[in-house]
Each structure stands twice: as C-alpha cells, then as structure tokens.
C-alpha cells in the first residue's frame, strides 16, 4: 500500500465525491486540489469555477486565493463576482453545481460558522466571514465540507450560522425558502461524515485506516450514529501520482 499524508487522503476522498459533469465552486487550498484531482481521476467533464468570475481556468500553478492571477489564465471566460454567483443561482445551471466549503464550526445538520465565536458584535474570535460560502451553501445542489475533527469545531450549536446546511432538519431549507440542496459530505482529517437521508443528521460514514470510530466521537461536541461506518479505501498509487505530479508538484498545499 502506498504511503500517504493526511492531507492527501482528505483530498482524494473529496475528489471521489465529484461526479462527471459537475460544475465545482471552489475555494483555495485543499479544496482546489481535490477539484483538480477529480478531473484527472473520476470526473473528466467536471468544471472548476471561482466566485471571482474565472471559469475553467488552466491552473499551471496553484492559486493562493480565488483572486490569484493564476486563475485568470486560459479560462473559458473571465467575468466578475455578480456573474459567478448568478451562475450558481441560475435555475438550470445550479442543479449541476456543487460547492466545496470549510468553516470554523459545524453542527449536526451541517450548518457552518466562518464568522465569529462569542458575541457577534464583540467576538472572542473573529474569522473572515462568509465571503461566497453562504451564497454557495444557499444555491448549489450539494456540497462537500472540509473540517478538522476537533471538539470545539463540531458543536451543538454554531455561534453564528454563516452558511446554511440542513438548518433545523429535513424541512429546514424548504421552510426557509432556500433553493439548492444541502451538504452531502463532511471530509475531515479522520473520517467521512454524511447526512441521514431522512433526518438530515450527520452520521459517520467512513473512518480512515488506523482511526477508530470512538476516537472520532471523542473529537466531536455531539453524538453521531457510527453504525454505518466502514473503513475508507486509502488513496491508490494512481490517485497519489495525480495529486503529487499533476495537482501540486510544488507542494504548496500538500506540504
């Protein structure tokens, strides 16, 4: 079996979630590598686009932000913010758009906080805020969430609900009037979490080789069902080659 880092397995696991034909709303860092890898592995007709307006960039070098000049090269089109979010909100296109998001906190319904901890007006810790995350979480057909598995991050209730998951359960999004689908998977440094089809509550779907379900529970602020969990198939040699040689040869993200 090939050796791999935690970041590598996270990336590969997320990449496998992308389907052919998906249009992938992408941030920077590991989410971008996952989207790039999917195009080489399982979704050749998937398309990466950035909230800044770059569509299907030729990423000869890894961008450090969605506004990096590297995303502007050899695209299908260079637009702006208004265009790119409208693409996600578009009735026909949105059905094919998926999002990759991250956050500081997540609850069992996949609601995300990337704004602040503590009182909103005088927070203990301030984060960057929504950016395009809330927009994507509102519009796209499904989303992949990257998280670090820590008790303070998997919480009963997020301090600030920045990006909508399933809100308060299976009817939450419809009640609120949201158009898109909710989160489909949470990829962490230990496990893959999914959402129960009926209750929309998070459950443990897969754990990485060498990690026990109990250890995962120990690192969460709420209980989840672990009865459906299976060991995650580790990255194959081919998948790793794609990551290392095609996606991040400079090791800017994968270290």
């Amino acid at each position: 079996m090939a050796e791999y880092t935690l970041r590598e397995i996270m990336t590969v696991v997320a990449a496998r979630e992308i389907k052919d034909g998906d249009i992938v709303f992408c941030g920077t860092g590991i989410s971008m590598i996952a989207a790039m890898a999917a195009k080489h592995i399982n979704a050749p007709n998937s398309v990466i686009f950035f909230e800044t307006g770059a569509i299907d960039s030729k990423l000869e070098e890894l961008p450090l932000t969605v506004a990096d000049p590297r995303v502007m090269y050899f695209t299908s089109m260079n637009g702006g913010l208004a265009d790119s979010f409208a693409t996600m909100q578009n009735k026909f296109i949105s059905k094919h758009v998926i999002g990759i998001l991250g956050a500081a906190q997540i609850d069992k319904f996949g609601n995300l906080n990337s704004t602040s901890i503590g009182d909103y007006l005088r927070p203990k810790a301030r984060f960057p805020g929504s950016g395009g995350a809330c927009d994507a979480a509102s519009f796209v057909s499904r989303s992949i969430i990257f998280m670090q598995h820590e008790k303070r991050k998997f919480v009963q209730k997020v301090d600030y609900l920045t990006s909508p998951g399933w809100l308060d359960g299976p009817k939450g999004r419809k009640k609120a009037g949201l158009p898109g689908g909710g989160p489909s998977v949470v990829v962490t440094n230990m496990a893959i979490m999914r959402f129960d089809e009926k209750t929309k509550e998070m459950y443990l779907s897969g754990y990485y080789p060498g990690i026990t379900p109990q250890k995962i529970l120990d690192n969460m602020g709420f209980e989840v069902d672990i009865s459906r969990a299976k060991e995650v198939k580790p990255p194959s040699y081919e998948e790793l080659i794609v990551l290392r040689e095609k996606c991040d040869p400079q090791r800017l993200i994968l270290e």
């Binding site: 090269y73 909100q89 509102s138």
Partner: protein, 325 residues
C-alpha cells in the same frame, strides 16, 4: 459623473478633492489582486478619518485602512487575504477590540448591493442567506439607522414571492443599494477622458464604479483614446462615470495587477509580521506609508530587484515560478 475630455490629475489631488473625513467609500480589487494601494496609502498619509467602507473581499487594502485608523464603520463580506492572512489581522483585532462598527454580508450580496446602486434601484433580490445569521444579526443599531440618513433603515428584508411560486421561489432576500460617495479602482489601462480597460477578472469593480457619486481611477498605463476605442468591446466603463484619472504604474503594489505584475509574497509576509503587534504595526506605517512621500518612493524602498521578481510573464499574465511560500 463628468463628460469632459481630460480628467488627469495626481493622486494627492484626487484624494484631497474627493475623499473627506466621514466619506462613504468603496475600493476595487479582491484579496491580493488589483487593490488601489497607491490611493489607499495616500488616504492614510492625508490622515483622512471616520470613513465608512463598503467591502466585499477587498483584502489587503481593507486591512491597511483599518490598521491606520481611517475606518469607523465597515460593511463587509470577507476579511481574509489568502495564506498571508487567513483572517486579515488588523481587521480581526479591530473587531475583537470593539474599535469599529461592522456589519456582515456575503460576497454576492455586496456585489448585488453595488449593482443595485449602479443601476439605480433601491434594492435587489437574491435567494442567498435565507435561514442564516446574515439575516438575523445586524451590526448597526436601529438607532444608528434612524439617525444616519446614509445607512438604510433595514439591513435586509425577507419577502414572500409576490409572484406566488414563480421561479420556484417562496421567499427572497432584498438587499439595499449602496451608493458610495467615492469609489477608487486600479485598472490596467485608461485614457485621459476615463474610458477604462481592465484585463483578467473584473471582480465587482464595474458595479462599484458605477454605483458611486465620484469615481477615482488609477491606472498602470495612460493610453491614447484611439487604442481603447479601436476595440471598445474590451472596455468596461464608459468615461462619463469617471471623475479623476491618475497614472500610477504599480499602483496596486503589493497586490497583483494581471498581465503587469504579481503580488509580492515577501511584502505580504513581512506585513503579516508587522500587523500582529500594535507597536510593530506603527513601525510598519512609519516606514512604508508615512515614511515615503508617494508610491514611487515606496517602490524605491522595496527595491528594483523585488519589482523585477514579480513582473508578469507575457504568456500567462503572472510571475512564473515566483517563490510564494
């Protein structure tokens, strides 16, 4: 708004004429790209205070303006600047220390608010943020909203779809328009009259520019009108929106300007170190902002080698193999 033929002036004059204490302003660019930094540094040098800043994810410029104490109120979607500052450091400190009033939106919402201002409607609708705290948590008090005619009476309004379920929508979020007193953008090319050509992504610059009462444009190249009018499909802003054209090569430095230069990772890493600490940040301002008389002098302090290092490759538009760690 101005239909005259020649609007060229220097940055000192442009800032002095249009940016006042208490002005509501917006700036172009996104995170570490095409921020109008020369103009931002001039605002800091002119010691303009109590600005109300509208930002989506304008990164470096926002952080420096906040750090220098120019901003008293902020409407923002994202205060981060890539790996150089996952959360912008002076922004983070100012909020945690209660130094500024602020209110959170999403990037799309800020883009729509500028668009609403640009097209002259009081609001625009979106389906983003339903069910979230973006709707619930307001940064500006009702009292402030009542007192200040330049702040809308409500942050947002959730409305049932008046066309029943048309567009498969039951509800929409209405976002109030923004019409800043001044917007400042940095672009690749302009002519004397103010016809504008940007290269690469335009972010929300066009909407911000058109929403504003006054518009200052700084540019890499001041070109003849003929060059821009020879293929007007490539221009994004017609001249009559523009009030001042300022020619400042490297005017976005240390942020990037597509097809001209990349961001400077050394500067941005150094900035991060300075920004972590209040005293150090004063030193940063003293050395790199107050300590230079204009943008050219900042470039001199940084040195030719660094400027050479970030020069854009003509094929790709950025600096290939730049060390960005």
């Amino acid at each position: 708004m101005n239909t005259e033929k020649d609007k060229v002036m220097d940055i000192k004059e442009a800032i002095k004429r249009f940016v006042k204490n208490g002005s509501h302003i917006s700036i172009g660019g996104f995170t570490l790209n095409r921020n109008p930094m020369a103009a931002v540094y001039e605002i800091i040098r002119q010691n303009i205070k109590n600005l109300h800043l509208y930002a989506h994810a304008n990164g470096q410029a926002v952080d420096e303006l906040i750090g220098a104490g120019c901003i008293s109120k902020l409407e923002i979607a994202y205060g981060g600047n890539a790996r150089f500052a996952p959360t912008c450091i002076r922004f983070k400190k100012a909020i945690q220390d209660g130094k500024i009033l602020f209110e959170d939106y999403t990037n799309y919402q800020m883009a729509l608010r500028f668009l609403a201002g640009a097209i002259g409607v009081p609001f625009l609708p979106t389906r983003s943020s339903l069910g979230t705290d973006i709707l619930n948590k307001w940064g500006f008090s009702k009292d402030l909203r009542k007192k200040d005619p330049k702040i809308p009476n409500k942050k947002v309004i959730v409305m049932n779809n008046p066309f029943d379920s048309w567009g498969d929508a039951s509800k929409v979020v209405l976002l109030p328009a923004i019409t800043p007193d001044v917007t400042i953008i940095h672009v690749q090319k302009a002519d004397k009259q103010g016809t504008i050509r940007m290269k690469g992504l335009t972010f929300a610059d066009v909407e911000q520019a058109k929403s504003s009462k006054y518009l200052i444009v700084t540019c890499e190249e001041l070109v003849e009108s003929d060059e821009l009018r020879d293929d007007p499909d490539q221009n994004q802003i017609p001249f009559f929106y523009v009030d001042a054209v300022v020619h400042i090569p490297y005017g976005a430095y240390p942020t990037a300007c597509y097809r001209y230069y990349d961001y400077d990772p050394i500067y941005l890493n150094e900035y991060r170190r300075y920004a972590q600490d209040d005293d150090l940040f004063k030193k940063y301002l003293d050395k790199f902002v107050y300590g230079v008389k204009d943008h050219q002098e900042l470039l001199n302090v940084v040195g030719k080698e660094r400027i050479e290092m970030i020069k854009a490759d003509p094929r790709t538009g950025y600096a290939i193999n730049l060390d960005r760690k």
